[in-house]
Symmetry: none
Subunit: 231 residues, 2 copies
DNA sequence: TTTGCCCGTTAAATATTGTTAAGCAAAAAT
DNA sequence: ATTTTTGCTTAACAATATTTAACGGGCAAA
């Protein structure tokens, strides 16, 4: 597994293609299905991190599919795509155990926010997640490719930069203890390693400069925190 | 422990129903009202753990309702639901004493996070609330970002300033015991830490100078109190 | 009122962090 | 085999944050 895998089931071919392309562009690995039955087959064959399900679909509707999926893998997050003002659909979806919903038409930006929020939550705090793509502000960290994608394009990272950004991003808006970071990335907390980390922080702050929403603040004597402000 | 009771006041029938369903599904006991007046009546009849109030509503808006509620039960936490970019609404809400806010459209994810955070801290008394934003007089403390927003604009704070202002603001108009503050922020109550705190108090008083309504008064031998006068 | 302690303020000293650049060794390229 | 490049560390210095010192005023108990 290289990127977060998304099962996208959407019968409208236009929207489906757009979703697929957008999500790919943003560093996910979407699998597009045209109806519920196809979705079910793909689900059985592969392992996904999140499902995006349209509700009204031929052959097998989103509800039915969601119920079947939940029966097999209860913890797999589901995000429904519903027509506007179909509140009954939304409620039904939530009852089945959907994590969230989006009413059509939605912007790609909204979609991304929701997807990120869900994927972020499903990873346990304190641990580094198995997720390979991290988004924060206008940036996307492709962890296993060691690439930071930002407003200015893609940027190759060194492994230390990569590790440190991942640590900060995985604990977004939370404090990352200095000593913990050092042990995690450098192996132990010593004076020179600490100075080395400071050098990397400086480099990373420079990389993150072109989105003012993203900042790394220091908590004196404690550690660091990546904060992401309002859109 | 029994379910937490939530007073949900939202005039959009779709959103209202969705909120109710979702919160029920997540183990809460929501009571849905369609306008501020109905909300007020329910509030008088029952006992709640948290209020979720829309701001723009017919008959009685969220602000008015919140003020009335706070007059009767000051410690009841309030979470406002506001339209996006209504920064003035947000500030007004925080001044009334809201605990947090959500800008529409919000994800169910976010909602749940906020609700949980508020309920979690109200159950543990004596602890400092993990609130993000504190208001007092013309100031807004963005705790997570270590920024104090005042009449003169935004001001970056050091960690110690940040902690101390938060402590004072969270106990607004109440006495903060010296020794308690020291243990809370410096770890222990020793002579030098006490002197250090005095230095910070001095710095903070300087920062708060541009609003005469806000003052930190000393209770000799006891501690400090941030008092906020009327406009 | 006098004495001693507590507190306010400013300044100096120390500790921690930010930044830039030099050094160095391993990997990659030639 | 040698240069060149790359990633990381160490060093050096600048900027901040925090603590300690110094001095003076105010308050409360005797």
């Amino acid at each position: 597994m290289s990127k977060a895998k998304l099962l996208v089931v959407e019968d409208d071919p236009n929207l489906g293609d757009i979703l697929k392309e957008y999500l790919e562009m943003k560093g996910y690995e979407p699998t597009l299905c045209r109806d519920g039955e196809e979705g079910w087959n793909k689900f059985k064959k592969d392992k996904f991190d999140l499902c995006l399900l349209d509700i009204m679909m031929p052959k097998k509707d989103g509800f039915t599919l969601a119920k079947e999926i939940k029966k097999v893998q209860e913890d797999l997050p589901i995000l429904f795509l519903t027509a506007k003002n179909q509140k009954d659909d939304i409620i039904e979806g939530l009852k089945i155990g959907a994590d969230d919903y989006l009413t059509k038409p939605f912007s790609m930006e909204e979609l991304l926010l929701r997807v990120n929020a869900i994927l972020r939550r499903t990873q346990k705090s304190g641990e580094i997640s198995p997720l390979k793509v991290y988004t924060f502000g206008d940036f996307i960290l492709h962890y296993d490719e060691q690439i930071l994608e930002g407003p200015q394009g893609k940027n190759k990272l060194t492994s230390k930069e990569n590790e440190l950004i991942r640590l900060l991003a995985s604990e977004m808006n939370k404090l990352v203890n200095r000593s913990h970071a050092l042990k995690q990335i450098w192996g132990d907390d010593s004076y020179f390693n600490a100075r080395s980390m400071d050098v990397y922080l400086s480099k990373i702050r420079k990389l993150l400069r072109d989105d003012p929403k993203v900042q790394i603040i220091t908590v004196h004597g404690e550690g660091f925190k990546m904060i992401v402000g309002e859109a």
